[in-house]
Symmetry: C2
Subunit: 228 residues, 2 copies
């Protein structure tokens, strides 16, 4: 009867895939699918079936042999494990191009991450309204975090302002940060940070493009420039 105190730790790689399964399962549920096999789920998610089963087994034994997984129930379990049973208000720092796009992107609210507020340090931007959310001054951050109970902050500032934004978020009481600025943020150990860097993604693609193109075609020896 007692809730499980000894929460089994779920591997990072699995945590990263659960949201994908969740989305697929939700879609399948909407299409009227009641049961789904690991094989089918793997196909839709672009992964290996054994991996799907192992991932799901960390949540508990929620499948039925010979049948598969009950979609609705699995959705419920994944949502519970990911903490998606209630909303997580998000506060955005930086009302530039990206901040505006994020605030305007309705997908956040729908998926349980309503925009609690968006702030900027530039007085000129304060007061303007983006898709129903009014930009407020960064000094109001602590108040927004407190009243809206926001625990996730998004850094959408230029690189030069990112560390300051992160410091302010931490001081305001935020415990998780999603960082879009191309900087490694220094934060207390207890704060969870995830980074999304578009330039890095493009450069990784560039590596593969270049590799494909024949690799070392203009790789001229290893002549060291100037120096020495």
């Amino acid at each position: 009867m007692a809730p499980e105190r000894t929460r089994r730790r779920i591997p990072d790689a699995t945590v990263a895939r659960l949201p994908v399964y969740l989305r697929i399962l939700t879609e399948q549920g909407d299409e009227g699918v009641d049961n789904i096999s690991s094989e089918r789920l793997a196909e839709l998610g672009g992964v290996n079936a054994a991996k799907v089963r192992k991932d799901l087994s960390y949540l508990g034994s929620y499948g039925t042999r010979g049948v598969g997984y009950e979609v609705a129930y699995l959705v419920y379990q994944i949502r519970r494990e990911l903490g998606l049973t209630h909303d997580w208000p998000v506060v955005i720092v930086g009302a530039g191009n990206l901040g505006q796009a994020l605030a305007g992107y309705g997908g956040f609210g729908e998926r349980g991450f309503p925009v609690a507020g968006i702030v900027d340090i530039d007085e000129a931007k304060v007061g303007s309204v983006l898709s129903g959310v009014r930009v407020r001054h960064i000094d109001e951050l602590p108040q927004i975090v407190r009243t809206k109970r926001a625990s996730i902050g998004v850094v959408a500032t230029p690189a030069s302002a990112a560390q300051d934004a992160a410091d302010r978020l931490v001081r305001a009481g935020v415990t998780s940060i999603l960082n879009f600025a191309p900087v490694v943020l220094a934060v207390p150990r207890a704060i969870e940070v995830r980074k999304v860097d578009l330039a890095v993604e493009l450069q990784i693609l560039s590596y593969h493009e270049q590799r494909r193109a024949g690799g070392a075609i203009h790789a001229v020896g290893t002549t060291r420039p100037a120096s020495a």
Copy 2:
């Protein structure tokens, strides 16, 4: 004399970190730093020093024992390895919130990924100008890809249109895709796809928040709903 034909394969994990080193090195170079140790680079990049050395060793033995790495030379080597010695024009499909933000974000061009064009399927959006780039109709995609020599495509459409966008990009001749839509794209094996999913990132943060909050506080038994 002959360029190295047998290109050593660089581990994915390393490729993903090289852009980070590159950015740090470029910054340090701008600040007048000539030499840098793996220790310092590790500190700035938030990683382990041994990892830095191992990563860099895949490029060749470009360090000097007792001294460190020559910043300018290392920048050159990483850029060469990542294929950043020339520009990689990028074509964006989808002129919604995200597409606009991406086109407007100057950082791409600066880092060697100029926006070759942005297209949309919606006639109403065609013709409008976003930060100097005119939105064109998606039917012009093949022509843009050909004339601008774009090999990287960005999918910035809603989920429902993403697969179609990817198909069109592939048909137009693009060989790498950066996908922002929350969908697993089906593409030919030869096409390199990278995915950026904001909702997934937030859900991973949610998992950690929920875990921090005490985990299974409302985890009431394992009563299965309806079924059976």
